[in-house]
């Protein structure tokens, strides 16, 4: 009797665990960047309610997204960083970068009284290279004339994990500081010359919030949500810009290349915030690889089209900057070029 009961129980558990098999065809899997995760999460939820197609996105980081797409274990990848030469070579087939929104990386700090500070490109470079030791250094007080800066030590906070936010930030600093470019460079993981590491954007925000005299870089939304002060940054045209959604969108208002593999940092746009970047969805240009069905490829293209059009209305409530008209036009061309085996999917 005992044996019969335990056998039946195992059977029940196994049946319950298999779940609904019919949804398999209508499911898309993506993985990658954590930065747009709140936005994607909302979009995919709305999409599944409207179209019945479930999209499962795992925020494992930009590098992880690129790796999983290269291994063809996911339908699409999410990345804040453009794929490097080495990554492109490893991928064996062309991968399209389709931007979905833009974000700003802000410099948040912990000083008594939460003063509003201004930063210039060299000051940012020097701070993160560890060359400015105290907050009341001449270089900082010169650009912040009305502010009484304390004689506190500067503690730099950076990311301990690989991150697209780091990629955007380091891309900017590499452009404006030759010393940074030689010593540290651009990437999702860096050899930081100084500072503490926090895990994820929340980790950096948490450490800055707790450590007096610290400065770190986070995505705009984390500074807003944690009610932390962030600095204005001087852009290429000499204007001190506060990171707002409008300023981020303006940063993208430049000549965009057709493949949209462009960095928005140190933008030429006069009112653009200089530490901005796109986040992209990565897909294979030819969807007819492995045993992918045409159905799935069509669903993916439909999703991409929706994300760059109707889905854009979910950006602003979540503090992401929507794509500019020019960006959407170029993205449309890219989506239309996605093919299945030899024929284009979207006519």
């Amino acid at each position: 009797m005992k044996h019969v009961l335990s056998f039946l129980m195992t059977l029940v558990i196994l049946i319950a665990a298999t779940g609904d098999g019919t949804a398999k065809e209508q499911e898309l899997i993506g993985a990658g960047a954590t930065f747009p995760y709140p936005f994607y999460s909302k979009m995919f939820d709305v999409y599944s309610k409207e179209y019945g197609v479930k999209v499962n996105y795992q925020a494992i980081g930009s590098g992880g997204g690129i790796r999983q797409l290269t291994n063809k274990t996911v339908d699409f990848g999410g990345s804040d960083a453009i794929m490097s030469e080495a990554d492109v070579k490893e991928a064996s087939a062309p991968i399209l970068h389709i931007p979905t929104c833009a974000g700003a990386v802000v410099l948040t700090y912990n000083l008594p009284g939460n003063p509003q500070l201004k930063f210039t490109a060299d000051v940012i470079g020097n701070l993160f290279l560890g060359k400015i030791g105290k907050w009341n250094d001449r270089r900082l007080s010169d650009i912040n004339p009305g502010v009484k800066l304390p004689e506190m030590n500067v503690t730099v906070v950076h990311r301990s994990d690989g991150s697209g936010t780091t990629s955007i930030f380091s891309d900017y600093v590499s452009k404006v500081s030759r010393e940074w470019k030689e010593k540290v460079g651009t990437g999702t993981s860096l050899n930081w010359p100084t500072g503490l590491g926090g895990k994820g954007n929340p980790g950096v925000a948490g450490l800055v919030k707790q450590t007096p005299g610290s400065i770190g870089y986070v995505e705009l939304i984390y500074a807003l949500q944690n009610k932390m002060p962030y600095g204005m940054v001087k852009n290429k045209k000499g204007n001190f810009v506060t990171a707002t959604l409008a300023a981020t969108s303006k940063a993208a208002d430049i000549n965009l290349p057709d493949d949209l593999k462009v960095s928005l940092t140190d933008t030429d746009a006069p009112e653009g915030y200089p530490i901005s970047g796109f986040t992209w969805i990565l897909v294979y240009k030819d969807q007819g690889y492995g045993d992918r069905s045409e159905e799935k490829a069509k669903e993916l293209v439909k999703l991409l089209w929706w994300m760059t059009h109707e889905g854009q209305k979910y950006t602003e409530p979540l503090e992401y900057a929507p794509l500019s008209k020019k960006a959407v036009e170029k993205a449309e061309k890219l989506i239309k070029s996605i093919s299945y085996k030899s024929s284009v999917i979207m006519k």
């Binding site: 494992i60 590098g63 503690t155 690989g162 050899n191 500072g195 503490l196 590491g197 707790q210």
Partner: protein, 312 residues
Amino acid sequence: MNHSRAELLVLRSKTKTMRWHRPALSESSFRKILSIAGVFVLLLLVAIFFSLGIASFPSIRNFGIRFLFSSTWDPVKSEFGAFPFLVGTLATSFLALVISVVFSIPISIFLGEYSAQGSVATFIKSMIELLAGVPSVIYGFCGLFLLAPLVRALEVKLGMAPYGVGIFTASLVLSIMIIPYSASIGREVISLVPSDLKEAALSLGATRFEVIRKVILPYAGSGIVAGVLLSLGRALGETMAVTMVIGNSNFIPKNIFSPANTLASVIANEFTEATGSLYLASLIELGLVLFIVTTIINLIGKLIIRRMGVGE
């Protein structure tokens, strides 16, 4: 219904030969199963070692032995070195060990000898076992939100940089995590000291403290060291709790309050994002280094235990 003794014996031997009393396994097949289990574990360890070695081969070939002594960890230039992480791992683990032993040995003596029975002892025993059951992420959170501000205040008082995170905080968190391992084993071993040895000492006029010092600890010494070794092994490999409070700085720590990094923490942080085969291979090589370091420390521990004798 009074069966005589002889009748009962006959009944007993009869039932023993009935189906449900005959042993399902004979002696030799039971021994075979035990040895298969042992060999399986050995094979598993060897397989882990080889898979780590093979996966980290590109990095071993590229950097050779200087991987262990180089202090640069640069994913952009593909220059990797494990030395700061080795220092961080060993420093936090041994410091945690020292701090935890201060608590776990008195606890084992108290629970094993002084208060072996009773509600107080049972309560303390279960609390300690509960410590072992708390997930390491929770320890990390508590370390970051409760302990780090306290350490930060201490650092400010000492005039040092107010990081709050670093080797000291990580060691404190680790030491609390590893207390249960050495305390439980220590308690077991101490309670197993034969009472005739203790009684002999007492009858010769020894005080309770002298009995502990001269009879119990020498007898149980090797067992206590074994428990301490187990907790050290746990500390070496602990990842989540450490990565939240160690400061994640890839430099060799200058003093006890410096931020640092450990082998396990680096792997956990950078593995999912690592692109590039050399980067991945280097991360796996960190895992191989950790595996080898843990093995070496265990071997040294075993030698120490053997030196101390089995206490017979």
